[in-house]
């Protein structure tokens, strides 16, 4: 699966595509569903062979963006290209280039795993023999050989997801879109899915995935774009995003709550700003500059003061902190609110394009 650059003719047709441009590019994508602005001017650029995570709560516009890239929806304004091909004007060529796995595993329950893959191969016009061979190859790769001749109705959630992902890979796509690939999976299946995806992108496929799980974006993506209410609110690598909301914190736990007062005094001296404490957990923390040198200095002073330190570390902010800082609300909360809104507008969503 070697990543190839788009053919010049295709790139030429797409107009705005520059040489060396990304495998997935969007400029000012806007999409309305009735009153709701699902996408409010999104710009994206995913370089060939890299993984981008579109991170945001439910209803942020992630799925809408994927639906535009995969030719399922046309944007109200703005434009997008995949492998240099315009998603509106070259939709058929785009479909030959991409693989997509949607939010719910779109596999046929009454077909066997093999029949599902074989059908997709036929619809890609691979030819009978090649289609069957490809199905066998994918069943092997996704550890579904034993279940290959069972109807999908009998599959677990994780197996269905793997089969759905296998389905998106039937035609060896150069560009892959995965919409919330692990939503609804148990933790073990999620880890398995991550391994599969990592192996896949190791082969050079360009991947855009959406997720509500900060951890997932952190682990799988080269670059992260955070969206909320249809707008990009931050972008960068996971490390860049974390450093956007400030530096490191020194956090420690002492053996009893009575030692907290002395601890806070020392933290105030070594850190910047006011230390925070949690009485119940006997823990305290403070923002610091200088990393491990500060850590050593703090420990020296605490030792001198006779405080018993049980746990200590320099902690960098997590993506959860980033999300909270960027949106002013936690990811989960936002999800609930957006989900409620989504339910409210379901009625007028039917005829959306």
């Amino acid at each position: 699966m070697v990543a190839a650059t788009p053919e010049p003719s295709a790139a030429g047709r797409a107009g705005s595509t520059r040489a060396g441009a990304g495998a997935i590019v969007a400029h000012g994508l806007v999409k309305h569903y009735g009153e709701v602005r699902a996408l409010d001017g999104i710009d994206l650029d995913v370089p060939e062979g890299t993984v981008m995570a579109l991170l945001g709560p439910n209803g942020a516009g992630k799925t809408t963006a994927v639906r535009i890239f995969t030719t399922l929806l046309e944007p109200d304004s703005g434009h997008a290209t995949v492998a240099g091909l315009d998603v509106v004007h070259d939709a058929d060529a785009v479909r030959r280039t991409i693989g997509m796995s949607g939010q719910n595993a779109a596999v046929d329950e009454y077909l066997t795993g093999r029949e599902n893959l074989d059908m997709i191969g036929n619809l890609y016009h691979l030819g009978k023999a090649a289609s069957r061979a490809r199905a066998d190859e994918l069943l092997e790769r996704f550890d579904l050989v034993d279940a290959a001749n069972r109807v999908v109705k009998t599959y677990s959630g994780g197996m269905r997801r793997r089969l759905d992902l296998a389905g998106s890979l039937v035609a060896n796509p150069r560009v892959l879109f995965l919409d919330e690939p692990t939503t609804g999976l148990d933790p073990r299946s999620r880890l398995g899915m991550w391994d599969v995806i990592e192996e896949l992108v190791g082969g050079g496929t360009t991947l855009l995935l959406t997720t509500q799980y900060l951890e997932e974006a952190d682990r799988l993506a080269d670059a992260i774009v955070v969206i909320d209410h249809g707008k990009v609110i931050a972008r960068g690598t996971s490390d860049e995003l974390k450093s956007q909301i400030g530096g490191e914190r020194l956090e420690l736990t002492v053996s009893s709550a009575s030692e907290l007062a002395a601890t806070v005094d020392i933290l105030r001296k070594v850190g910047v700003g006011e230390p925070t404490t949690e009485e119940k957990a006997h823990s305290a923390g403070v923002a610091v500059e200088g990393g491990s040198a500060v850590l050593i200095e703090a420990l020296r002073q605490l030792d001198a003061a006779g405080v018993v330190v049980q746990d200590v570390g320099i902690r960098r902010p997590t993506l959860d902190d980033v999300f909270l800082a960027l949106t002013g609300h936690a990811a989960e909360e936002a999800g609930e609110a957006a989900a409620a809104k989504k339910r409210g507008r379901r009625g007028d969503k039917g005829e959306s394009s």
């Binding site: 639906r67 399922l72 029949e115 619809l123 890609y124 016009h125 969503k349």
Partner: protein, 266 residues
């Protein structure tokens, strides 16, 4: 491969997929057959005594009506099947593939036609049991069935448009059926249109369903009461029936394909 053969090939892949489901979940087919069998028994033995078209053997009269009603109601399955695929995201998967835009609909209407073929075999046997007979040559009888299946296929495309327009499988289940009641009862299927009130009579005479029923009666050699009507459609039922089916196809094939292009998972 040309565009057309490609579309046909893709359609057959989808049709095969749908038929595998019929094979693996035969309940659906069984229940769609039970309903018309029930109608045959109810009309032949319960209402039949009360409905007395003059000079007509009611059970012979009834079967063409039941056949046509059966395929009309059978078309609702198209709406349910498509709404189900839409709800499960399978239409999204199909729409992201480089396959013909009409293939999912061609496949669905084709597999539903096969469904109807199976149901019609059962219904014909059921008719023979209650005393219905074909009195004309094999050629005419065959043409009779062709008129019925052309209508079935056309109705399937109407149903496809409904299935892609409603918001869920549950809605498809009632929206796909409900309009078929007036269509099938405001016709000559169960009572002669001459027994209807004056203002309903022209509606029933020109109902596409009536022309299919009248064609079947004529071609099977079952005595009907159509000739009592003054409407042109009742004197030229075969042309009228095939004309209606063609018109429905011309309207609903492009309409449903347009719906499909814009279909979104709900």
């Amino acid at each position: 491969m040309s565009v057309l053969t490609q579309a046909a090939a893709d359609g057959m892949v989808v049709a095969r997929r749908n038929l595998i489901k019929v094979k693996r979940v035969p309940d659906l087919l069984i229940f769609t057959t039970i309903q018309p069998v029930m109608f045959v028994l109810l009309f032949a033995y319960v209402f039949g005594g009360a409905i007395h078209p003059k000079g007509v053997n009611y059970r012979e009269f009834l079967m063409a009506g039941i056949f046509t009603q059966t395929v009309a109601f059978g078309s609702a399955i198209t709406a349910i099947g498509l709404a189900d695929d839409l709800q499960k995201g399978i239409i999204d998967r199909f729409r992201s593939l480089p396959m013909a835009r009409s293939a999912v609909l061609v496949g669905r209407t084709t597999s539903d036609l096969v469904n109807n073929l199976i149901v019609m075999v059962v219904m014909s046997l059921c008719g023979l049991l209650v005393g219905w007979r074909i009195h004309r040559s094999v050629g005419y009888a065959l043409l009779g069935y062709i008129v019925i299946f052309a209508f079935a296929f056309a109705m399937s495309w109407v149903s496809a448009t409904i299935g892609l327009s409603v918001s869920s499988v549950e809605v498809a289940q009632s929206a796909g059926f409900i309009w078929l009641f007036p269509v099938s009862f405001l016709s000559n299927a169960f009572v002669p249109t001459s027994q209807l009130t004056r203002f309903l009579r022209p509606i029933a005479d020109w109902n596409p369903m009536s022309s299919v029923v009248a064609s079947a009666r004529e071609l099977f050699g079952n005595k009907g009461t159509e000739k009592l009507s003054t409407a042109w459609s009742m004197h030229h039922p075969v042309v009228t029936a095939l004309g209606w089916s063609l018109l429905l196809l011309l309207i609903f094939i492009p309409l449903s394909v347009r719906k499909y292009r814009a279909a979104a998972t709900r």
